[in-house]
Symmetry: C2
């Protein structure tokens, strides 16, 4: 849980380091230098050394970094050594895509329940055996089940409405796919995935 003033820019790169180190492990590579990693990841070696050093000396002069050690350590920093209980708000295709993706559960993100305004409509679509409840039961559910993360996949206005209930219910983080910003106290973290903004950025880049 130590947070030695790690900058936002570094945090954003950590999952990518984690992915590349995982690939190296799969390939049976057990050590790597900042130079070699920089070539693979399209970063400067300098930046990699600067980044990795924030967490203490994982490297060894003249040798490089031990892939396994670094992978495990970054996993710990990212909190992947814990497990998390999740609820998904909404039961549409996006909600199903997320809850049906096995990779999250593998990393400790366990989806325990889905909530939808009109659960009957979707009953037969729900995949993976996750129970689907009416949204009106959310408050009661959260009071009985400690929940770390809520995934919001419903439209903007409904998302803003459900946020207070989630905050009061004690969730620590909200993974927000709605096209809106959410107002939460400092104790709750919002991580937004704004798909339409991403697509607009692509369209900008295509044209310039």
């Amino acid at each position: 849980m130590e947070n030695k003033g790690i900058s936002k820019a570094v945090i954003n790169r950590l999952p990518r380091y984690y992915r590349y180190l995982g690939m190296l492990l799969d390939q049976g590579v057990d050590r790597i230098s900042s130079g070699e990693l920089s070539r693979r990841m399209n970063l400067t070696a300098s930046q990699i050394r600067q980044d990795l050093n924030l967490f203490g000396g994982f490297g060894q002069q003249g040798y490089g970094y031990n892939v396994r050690k670094l992978y495990d350590e970054i996993g710990k920093i990212l909190g992947l050594d814990c497990s998390y209980s999740l609820v998904v708000i909404g039961a549409g295709k996006l909600a199903q895509a997320i809850s049906g993706y096995f990779g999250f559960e593998k990393r400790g993100f366990k989806i325990e329940a889905m909530f939808d305004r009109d659960p009957d409509k979707h009953k037969n679509d729900v995949v993976g055996g996750i129970p689907l409840y009416p949204l009106s039961d959310l408050k009661a559910y959260l009071s009985e089940h400690v929940t770390d993360i809520a995934v919001i996949t419903i439209p903007a206005e409904a998302a803003r409405e459900v946020t207070d209930c989630l905050v009061e219910g004690g969730v620590r983080g909200i993974w927000n796919f709605a096209h809106t910003d959410l107002d939460v106290p400092d104790s709750v973290t919002v991580q937004s995935v704004h798909l339409s903004e991403s697509l607009m950025q692509l369209s900008y880049k295509i044209n310039h």
Copy 2:
């Protein structure tokens, strides 16, 4: 198509400006000052003025900015005054979520076709009347239909394999949801949405 050295940081903020200005329009607000906008968006007024000035003087001293004018102009800068033809690679839940979302079509992003390795398996799932073809037909399809953007929703390895075909087929941009980076020439833009990295960032922030 002018690109007056607008920084990456500004481009990333543009869609958010666009969203807020759209909301203001809906609320019937026809002018706004950088100060008022900064309060709503949680930015500094200084940054807003700096950003908006890159595109020429939309503001007026003592008055502020005309919401409609600014909205339209940012839309143009983002390329939302054009329309784009898209194909979606993959036909799983994520592909269906994207192709079923009407907001993209409204902004000029028209999904023309979906491709999947085994289209029979999904035939009944496909929503919105978008034709689904076998992936083996992709090359032929692209040679007959000018396609601006490909959306990749298949696993990492398959994504890397299909990329060359997309590049040769002349797509200008790839919206990539696979958990991998993609190798493309400079003429093609890749915009990645790495969902698992986003979730890891959330888990980091929850713990620190």
